[in-house]
């Protein structure tokens, strides 16, 4: 058996393990990946990321994601000046680039939203819902989960803000993994 076959087998095994583990987890290194701008240009994640990056999977039609539009804008406004980079991704198959562009304009997003054709990036991360956030520090995931703990009622846990505050202060994140109810990302079949 030559080394190429062994190499292929190793890659296949690695892919299987990644799938079983549900994508990328806290502590994992984020590899570079490619997104599409709403104007159709290829954009590398590495060109958007910084020392601290927030990657958020969002939607145009999901009521949960839309309930967080204003909160996402506020988080961006508070943390972007502190050097945090933001990458917003739409992986839903039924929401095309034109719809994503219009949605961003309608809601006055100060940030770009990128398309993930074929939900390749959602699969890489194992992202399941919108909204679903990841905080990446020095290339590794340090937080994964919800933006906060209440869609409509009183927010008791500012999960994403708490994670960013901790990372900016160089402190450990109290809750690096959280879950929340949300719309499933609509994948290609």
């Amino acid at each position: 058996m030559n080394r190429n076959i062994l190499g292929s087998m190793f890659l296949a095994l690695l892919a299987a393990v990644t799938l079983l583990a549900g994508g990328l987890n806290v502590g994992d290194t984020v590899p570079d990946f490619t997104l599409k701008s709403v104007d159709g240009d290829d954009v590398k994640y590495s060109s958007l990321a910084g020392d601290i990056t927030v990657i958020t999977f969002i939607a145009t039609q999901c009521p949960i994601s839309n309930d967080y539009n204003e909160r996402m804008k506020a988080i961006y406004a508070d943390y972007h000046p502190k050097g945090v980079k933001f990458v917003f991704i739409n992986s839903n198959k039924q929401e095309d680039a034109a719809e994503v562009k219009e949605h961003a304009q309608k809601h006055g997003f100060q940030f770009a939203v990128y398309k993930d054709p074929g939900n390749v990036v959602a699969d890489l991360f194992g992202a399941q819902v919108t909204p679903e956030a990841y905080v990446v520090k020095d290339g590794k995931i340090v937080y994964h989960g919800r933006i906060d703990d209440s869609r409509k009622g009183e927010v008791k846990d500012q999960s994403l803000r708490n994670a960013l505050d901790a990372v900016l202060a160089g402190k450990p994140i109290a809750k690096p993994e959280t879950k929340a109810f949300g719309c499933t990302i609509k994948r290609v079949s």
């Binding site: 919800r146 703990d149 009622g153 719309c183 499933t184 990302i185």
Partner: protein
């Protein structure tokens, strides 16, 4: 022929009960991790499908009538559909009206928890909280199948029937 008053009353009472069953759940019972364990224990010996859904979730709304129909068809063979709404408290009435419109079985539940994380983990640690989420348990109370997101009803029915046979 004169119908005795007692018989007439019985007929009335009977039709009332039928009307109540056909109208769907009268109320939504609160649901948390403890109640989940309790419902599982109470339904030991039956094949149980938990449907975690919400009014804001389009695929959840689309599959509800199909699941209710499945419950109606297979209830006599020991199948139970348990619906648990993940709606917020202010959407409770809307959720109840939806269930009543589709004649969903009783009892029906609505999540009332302090901590979504802990609740989701208690139901299934592998679940992200994405909706719709269906969890199928066999008669021994063992989880045998999970469906997250849109799922063909034929696939669900096949799995349920497989456990009933």
């Amino acid at each position: 022929m004169r119908v005795p008053a007692a018989v007439f009353t019985l007929i009335l009472a009977g039709s009332g009960a039928l009307a109540a069953a056909a109208a769907g759940p009268a109320r939504l019972e609160p649901y948390d991790a403890q109640r989940h364990r309790q419902v599982l224990a109470e339904n030991r010996g039956k094949v149980v499908l938990f449907d975690f859904w919400a009014t804001w979730c389009a695929p959840c709304r689309a599959e509800m009538p199909l699941l209710v129909e499945l419950d109606r068809k297979l209830r006599g063979r020991g199948f139970r559909l348990i619906t648990v709404s993940a709606d917020e408290p202010e959407e409770k009435q809307q959720a109840l009206e939806f269930l009543r419109e589709h004649r969903a079985p009783e009892p029906a539940y609505i999540k009332e928890v302090e901590d979504d994380d802990a609740f989701i983990n208690a139901v299934n640690p592998d679940w992200s909280g994405a909706l719709p989420a269906l969890f199928l348990y066999d008669r021994s109370g063992k989880l045998v199948k999970t469906w997250i997101g849109e799922t063909a009803i034929a696939e669900i029915e096949k799995a349920v029937r497989g456990l009933l046979d």
